[in-house]
Amino acid sequence: MGILAFTAMAVCVICLHFGAQPIAYGEILRVFIDAISRKEIDGGTSDVVDVILLQVRLPRILLGFLVGCSLASVGVALQALLRNPLADPYVLGVSSGAALGAAVGVLLGAGTTFLAETTLPVCGFAGGLLALVIVYRMAASYEQLPIHSLLLTGVILNAIFSALIMFITSILEPNRSYGMMAWLMGTLTAPTYGGLVGLAVYLSIGLVLLFVQMRALNVLALGEEVARTLGVDTERAKRSIFILAALVTGAVVSVSGMIGFIGMVVPHAVRLVTGADHRLLLPASALVGGTFLMGSDTIARTMISPAEIPVGIITALAGGPFFVYLLLWRKDRLA
């Protein structure tokens, strides 16, 4: 775990280096020492390098880390709860549900007011919860929904929600609909430090409550009836995990749009190393997910710099083929 935390920090520094204009590591160090000696991180300088590093790159990288952490953690929790190693907020339609919620929020004017930072996560939460309830109802109406049927449910939900989102996009004014398109593709934009702290508090409440359930997740992963015989109040545990998952996904989607596959690829890869015990798997996945998204976003920022591509494209290009590989070649592990 220490190694992972160290790697995350190292990757963070490397990501600071890359950008439209690479900044030398010595320079990064100097800017940080400066900022610490000034005792403020925001403003107070007109140095270009300072501004790029502290007001553009650092908040964006930290945002990427938070989002990656959250998506990977939610992925782990959903996989255990649905007993399905391919579950992921994106694949199951939870992300698009949350996006629909946020889009409705924008349509109703929430996005233009100063309330945007608080109302959009709530709208996203509502949409995500709706999607999760539908997916779970489908899964629960069978003893255990076969993996492919669960994926199909996700596909259908995604299709319906996307249609509604496109409808909303099409009736918005052109300049706002362009912003919405960019957001939907999954973009990290540098937030203000105030917004970043707010999001961090919101997400850490959700994640801490999720982490408390790690041992219960182990038992739930064995199946619901077994979990009951081992003393889990399954109805309560399920309800709280679903609500937390929707809460975190809603917040994440409302700031960064639809960034896919992290919730599936990362836990899978981490599970190969740590095994299935959620007390290792969940925190390790969170760290790896955060690191992975920081890296992906750096690629998104620099690949065709000075222009940027949405980071959702990078994660989908990395995750999609992995998903296909799992479906085709690891059938024995899934069926």
């Binding site: 038992v219 009836e225 009951r228 003393g231 889990v232 095994g275 299935a276």
Partner: protein, 300 residues
């Protein structure tokens, strides 16, 4: 052996303090009716239709019956996995419906039918999950963190009892059916239960392990006073190793009593709708069931 249980079964279940467990039977089931909630066509069919039953402490009860007779559902009702619509189940005098799931899991360990596992838990990780019911209570972080040394010692003991210590760090999905079955029993033993509920525990086991598990259940009963409820298709196994047998058909009790009272040709023929032979086991003298051989249908 029969005398021993006669004296116990005559004791009435009083309504004294819950702390003193002795006067209470392990399970007191009173006219329980259960059906699955309306889904599909047979929504109105009762799976359990008014079952009453008393399981004494330290008794090994075998539950038998044809497919769909409600054996497994009864076991799930006893484990509080399913909640009956009518009737009452008491576990050592306490109403099961008023206990928390965690309380029940501290008293009753369940060995479910083997289901496929998707996640690569190791044997040790699986067995130690049996300690989950004994997690600290009442805190919002309940269940967070790692097991205590005591938990680990108990899990190791359970693995040693089930002879799976050598595969402790293998992944459960890579084991043979018999080994997986023993892992599930070890997990239930790690719960340090007073009652062990088993669903077809010998279904995947070879002869050696069948005998081993059954002797183990007898031994646990004798050393720990463990009460065992065992669902099985194997009439002979149940006849040889259980103190009492419950024969179910269509969700109702057909017979409940000592092996010689239940394993009778006429009773079995009525329930299973086929003719069987019953004779005496050469060593134990208990009833033994044999399928009609070819000579019966052809020669005589």
């Amino acid at each position: 052996m029969s005398e021993l249980f006669d004296s116990r079964s005559t004791r009435a279940a009083g309504v004294g303090s819950v702390g003193v467990l002795q006067p209470y039977p392990a399970y007191d089931v009173q006219s329980v009716r259960f059906r699955y909630r309306s889904r599909g066509s047979d929504a109105t069919r009762w799976i359990l239709e008014g079952i009453s039953l008393r399981v004494q402490k330290g008794e090994v009860l075998g539950v038998v019956g044809p497919n769909g007779s409600g054996k497994t559902s009864l076991l799930k009702v006893l484990a509080r996995v399913l909640t009956p619509q009518e009737g009452r189940v008491s576990l050592f005098g306490q109403n099961l419906a008023s206990m928390t799931q965690q309380d029940v899991a501290c008293v009753a360990g369940v060995v479910p039918q083997d289901t496929q596992q998707l996640f690569p838990f190791t044997v040790a990780e699986t067995v130690i999950m049996g300690r989950f019911p004994h997690r600290p209570r009442g805190r919002w972080t309940g269940g967070f963190g790692w097991e205590s040394h005591q938990d680990i010692a108990i899990a190791e003991q359970a693995m040693a009892t089930m002879d799976i210590g050598h595969v402790a760090h293998r992944v459960v999905t890579d084991l043979s059916g018999g080994e997986r079955q023993r892992v599930l029993i070890a997990r239930a033993l790690a719960q340090t239960p007073k009652v062990l509920l088993l669903d077809e525990p010998t279904a995947f086991l070879d002869l050696q392990h069948q005998v081993e598990i059954c002797s183990l259940l007898r031994r646990l009963k004798e050393t720990h006073g463990l009460t065992v409820v065992l669902v099985s298709h194997d009439l002979n196994l149940v006849g040889q190793y259980c103190d009492r047998i419950l024969l179910l058909d269509n969700g109702q009790v057909v017979r409940h009593g000592y092996p010689e009272e239940v394993i009778e040709p006429d009773v079995l023929e009525a329930v299973y709708r086929c003719r069987v032979l019953v004779d005496r086991h050469p060593v134990s003298g208990l009833p033994r069931v044999t399928l009609p051989g070819r000579q019966l249908s052809g020669g005589t």
